[in-house]
């Protein structure tokens, strides 16, 4: 059964004067999926989100949510979408309770319906202990939960999260993702921007935007199979040893080693297919690193994006 398309962009473009912030971006997001939108700062991620939310008018191209055009049918789209901005925009003077009540009323909830939704969201986000605390006094993780609760008050079909995990602790980050998976399983479509590769790996689909252009878009596993990521006659290996930085300097000079990057206590190499492990071990031994473990690995998403970015930088097209 083909999946229903929830978000679609066709040659979506935004220009600010002479600067093109988003350049002919096209992609589609299926209902119920978690779409991870990646790219460096200033690459145009937030601009795409703002156009999809109806905050910015596209200069060119078109985009739609649930079949409604984002430029023409904003009023139809508004009840369908939730938006959690980078800043977790809350009213600092208001308490948790008041913030939530305000957003509920803003979306037309009142009386028993408001109360019921309020209770559900408090239960979901575990905000009970802080109900009467001013939003200004909440820590990052709790602010994020409150912002999330506020953006969910009207049960949106699509939730946009602009760097939801920037600056919050790992526990809160993990819990947020658990929630996102739960929403996704209930049929909500999630559109998440992030800088974290581990978060990107969790998404059902990812798009990578660089210099205002969408470089690639697809399922993480498919992207890892791209020819550009796996050049013919190469393999990826993990070398675990002591003194990784010394080792890196050494192996980089070897013929047949195409790229080498440190990953914690090991290094990831892209080497020629016929490269012998013993050749690497011998070179390491020459540099006073007597022991090393070598094993084959699959490319990570980071490898994918690095390969694609390098390729674009070389090729002006």
């Amino acid at each position: 059964m083909p999946l229903e398309t929830m978000i679609s962009c066709e040659a979506l473009t935004k220009r600010f004067g002479h600067f093109t912030a988003v350049d002919h971006v096209s992609f589609a997001v299926a209902k119920g999926s978690i779409f991870g939108f990646l790219g460096p700062n200033g690459s145009g991620k937030s601009t795409v989100i703002r156009m999809l939310c109806g905050l910015l008018e596209p200069s060119d191209g078109r985009a739609s949510i649930a079949g409604f055009d984002v430029a023409q049918q904003t009023e139809e789209i508004k009840p369908l979408i939730g938006y959690m901005s980078q800043k977790f925009s809350l009213y600092d003077e208001l308490t948790v309770h008041e913030n939530l009540n305000f957003y509920g009323r803003l979306y037309g909830l009142k009386g028993a319906a408001l109360k019921q939704r309020y209770d559900e969201l408090i239960a979901l986000t575990h905000l009970e202990p802080y109900l009467h605390r001013r939003a200004a006094l909440l820590s990052g993780g709790w602010r994020q939960r409150l912002a999330m609760a506020c953006s969910l008050v009207h049960k949106p079909s699509v939730l946009f999260l602009d760097e939801p995990t920037a600056g919050i602790d790992p526990v809160a980050r993990r819990e947020l993702w658990d929630l996102l998976f739960e929403f996704s399983s209930q049929g909500m479509t999630l559109f998440v921007t992030t800088h974290y590769m581990d978060e990107a790996e969790r998404c059902s689909h990812v798009g990578y935007i660089h210099m205002s252009k969408l470089v690639v878009c697809g399922e993480p596993d498919d992207l890892k199979q791209l020819p550009i990521v796996n050049p013919p006659d190469t393999k990826r290996i993990d070398v675990t040893c002591d003194h990784v930085t010394t080792g890196l300097q050494a192996v980089r000079k070897l013929p047949g080693v195409r790229t080498a990057t440190v990953f914690g206590q090991s290094m990831h190499l892209l080497v020629d297919q016929d490269m012998q492990d013993s050749f690497i071990l011998a070179e390491l031994a020459k540099n006073n690193i007597p022991r090393a473990d070598i094993r084959p690995i699959a490319p990570s998403l980071e490898d994918v994006f690095v390969a694609l970015t390098n390729n674009r930088n070389v090729d002006p097209k």
Partner: protein, 373 residues
């Protein structure tokens, strides 16, 4: 709920809470107006009374003492010392010991009795024009009156041939608080209310909450009205408070209808709050909002007739004054408070205020684009 005011009650609820929680805004709405009222009520009293005066009496007769007494009786002059020479007299004025010096020459009584013109000299410090003008007028009056009396005596008349009996209506003691305080209320209301709304929307823009509002189904009318109403309530309470201070602290009687006064105030505050909102649709940050509000406040101070009468202004400034809400409000206030006029006589002012308010409000709703660009 597809009403044009979608989201109005939500914004109203939030805005009241935010205003009440923000002591900074409340402080700036209440405190500066009070200070300004006190400043204008007490310090800026332009009634010229008890000016320090030095006398150089070279005549030293009953007549010359009588003349000095007449000067003192006007209330404008207060003799604080005597000089021995004309140089000393001029020196005392230059050193700021006195504003006025009266020199009565030795031949004063002799000339008076002989029917010749008896001359006296009055030296006035012209560095403050208000004071100088008042001293000049009063001393000329004293001289004229003396001259007329002497003439009448000579012709055997018991009364002066012509006597002017001026009667000042509506502010009989010519107290300057009566003139200034209604105007001060008009100006401080403008400062407080324009800033309040100009800042409140810009703050949301800076914090990013405006973006959050714009992805919601909130309507523009709902947002603007929700922003305006809380400050309208505060503005009305504030004006009532200022009128109470004016009436019972500065004893400026309110001659006219208080309901009429409050209706006029309502339209005035509404117009100013809309002006503040209009500024906030333009300003990108609080600094800009502040500067733009100042830009509108200064003309109100100078061209509204608050300090300088509009009628004597050059044409261009008079033209500016006709589009300033404070012009109409201050005229309305003075008419209602001091002259006890009825609203019926000043319906034009009321229509102008209401019209400006609605035009400004409509403009800011139209100008406020839901999109960011």
């Amino acid at each position: 709920m597809k009403t044009p005011f979608r989201g109005f009650t939500a914004i109203l609820y939030k805005e009241f809470l935010v205003v009440l929680r923000d002591p900074f805004t409340l402080f700036f709405m209440i405190f500066p107006p009070l200070v300004e009222m006190i400043a204008f009520g007490y310090a800026l009293d332009t009634d010229v009374k008890n000016m320090r005066t030095i006398v150089l009496d070279q005549d030293r007769t009953e007549e010359s003492r009588q003349l000095v007494k007449q000067f003192e009786n006007t209330g404008t002059f207060k003799v604080v010392g005597e000089a021995q020479s004309i140089t000393e007299l001029a020196d005392l004025i230059r050193r700021g010991k006195a504003y006025v010096g009266i020199q009565i020459p030795p031949e004063f009584t002799r000339d008076l009795r002989a029917g010749r013109s008896a001359k006296i000299q009055v030296l006035i410090d012209g560095s403050n024009s208000t004071i100088a003008a008042s001293a000049l007028n009063t001393s000329l009056n004293v001289g004229f009156l003396n001259g007329l009396r002497a003439m009448a005596e000579r012709f055997g008349l018991r009364e002066l041939p012509v006597e002017v009996r001026p009667q000042i209506l509506y502010n009989p003691e010519m107290r300057s608080p009566n003139f200034f305080l209604p105007g001060v209320i008009g100006i401080v209301l403008q400062i407080a209310t324009t800033f309040a709304t100009a800042m409140s929307l810009v703050r949301e823009r800076e914090r990013g909450t405006l973006e959050q509002l714009m992805v919601s189904p909130l309507s523009r009318w709902g947002l603007m009205l929700g922003k305006l109403v809380p400050y309208l309530v505060i503005g009305m309470l504030m004006s009532a408070f200022l009128f109470i201070v004016m009436r019972w602290v500065f004893h400026v009687p309110i001659a006219g209808d208080i309901t009429a006064l409050m209706v006029g105030t309502f339209f005035y505050v509404f117009a100013l709050l809309s002006l503040g909102l209009l500024i906030s649709t333009r300003a990108q940050n609080q600094m800009q909002a502040l500067q733009m509000s100042m830009m509108f406040i200064l003309p109100s101070v100078f061209f509204s007739g608050f300090i300088f009468p509009r009628e004597t202004m050059p044409g261009i400034f008079y033209a500016i004054s006709t589009v300033i809400p404070a012009t109409y409000y201050i005229e309305l206030e003075r008419a209602l408070i001091l002259r006890g006029a009825s609203l019926g006589d000043f319906w034009f002012h009321l229509v102008m205020l209401a019209g400006m308010g609605m035009a400004l409000f409509g403009l800011c709703v139209l100008r406020f684009r839901k999109t960011m660009a």
